[in-house]
Symmetry: D2
Subunit: 139 residues, 4 copies
């Protein structure tokens, strides 16, 4: 029973956060989880032929932002308050998949875990993150 | 006694990591510290009129990368192994400054702390990060 | 196919790390996961009638240590290199359960995720941690 | 202009958090910083002859708790909401010193940085932590 669909979130971005639009695409929204994907671009590469750290961090942060929106409704002013990411394996130059899962959704803070997977091996994690969002006070 | 100057690092990026070039500019390199700055662009904005989380994370990661290069020499294959960032205050829509400081430089891991400051208040932190880089084995 | 059983780990602690013995008990070891439990003691309480932060952090760190031992064999010199913990809910004054899961086991670093659950609600997380251990060089 | 002295904090612990009393001693309180020390005990040792990770994590958390009390007044219900620690060097079997510094003190969250130093080398960090406390709502 999400409060926003992928189309709702895209429309919200178009209206209030165009800079973030188009970076990644939502693939599925479940009760307390969300899947999204970043399509490979050469601009994401770094030395060694892998995807850059900022690409992975941006995906972890964005996946959690979308999950917060899906579970709480349109509040674009939710902001990251902290993020920890562990890089586990070098992601191949290919699409990058994220699954965000809500661990706690309080009235003021949302805490989630994000798993990133890359390339053709959907079971192999390339990074793991925990992300906390501060939620705006209810209107 | 840094092993690379700002010009050396820029030349290394031009040769091996063009995607990262031009994001931020090194302002000073001291023994175990480095200052750099990101010039404001509208593309960094997010709802609320502040700079986006990925902009701050990318700066923290990049400042530490440059510090690793400055202190260890040209090894572009150094990669982030973990990063934790705490967002403290909303950065104004203005230039963003980073100071990275090395806490431990071992043979395999480098650990540093990055302080981010924004706008016209150079004493006010907008974010604090700790970043660990894995260093390639010596040739 | 763990390399050490719960009894093996207890014998190793008795021989080389008696200070850590008796804090928590291993309940199960699976391929890349380990469950353990801390039995409630009043000494773990803090104001508010909940278990203290250090109790939870010690359990997260210990669960990951045991998992490293189970998966790599008797190397008591494995040491924590970083730990991040998010406290999600106040744990009730009761037993505290941990499940550690290995995300990456390299030759030099092991990275895992630990979920802590408390009291009578085995599905409700009270804390989530990521823990990195540095492994001693192979003899 | 701290709101509590070391003696005030000790009296508060005696009244409301006796389990935490005696672990470490406050040495100095400045505007937004606090120094404290843990006296060496054999119980803190781990294999390799160094101080255990939980000893360092407990000190980082406690130093930040005391700083929150010093800066906000007697509110023992302030609780840790997240902690990240990077272990930098193996601390010698000796006293362990902590300096906690407040980075942001908001109405709901306090974020600080803690530096741990060990033994006879007061300039050498053995660990660095960032700690966030959730503050109870004002009465």
């Amino acid at each position: 029973m999400p409060r926003m669909t992928a189309a709702d979130i895209d429309a919200l971005l178009a209206a209030s956060f165009p800079q973030a639009r188009g970076f990644c695409a939502i693939e599925a929204i479940r009760d307390d989880e969300l899947d999204c994907v970043v399509r490979y671009r050469d601009a994401f590469l770094r030395p060694g032929g892998t995807l850059s750290g900022p690409t992975l961090m941006t995906l972890a942060d964005t996946a959690m932002y979308f999950l917060v929106l899906a579970m709480t409704g349109p509040q674009p002013l939710a902001v990251t308050s902290s993020l920890t990411i562990n890089f586990l394996r070098k992601p191949p130059p290919a699409d990058l998949h994220a699954t965000a899962r809500m661990l706690k959704l309080g009235s003021r803070l949302a805490v989630g875990e994000v798993h990133l997977r890359g390339g053709d091996e959907p079971r192999v994690l390339v990074a793991q993150a925990s992300v906390t969002y501060a939620l705006p006070a209810a209107a």
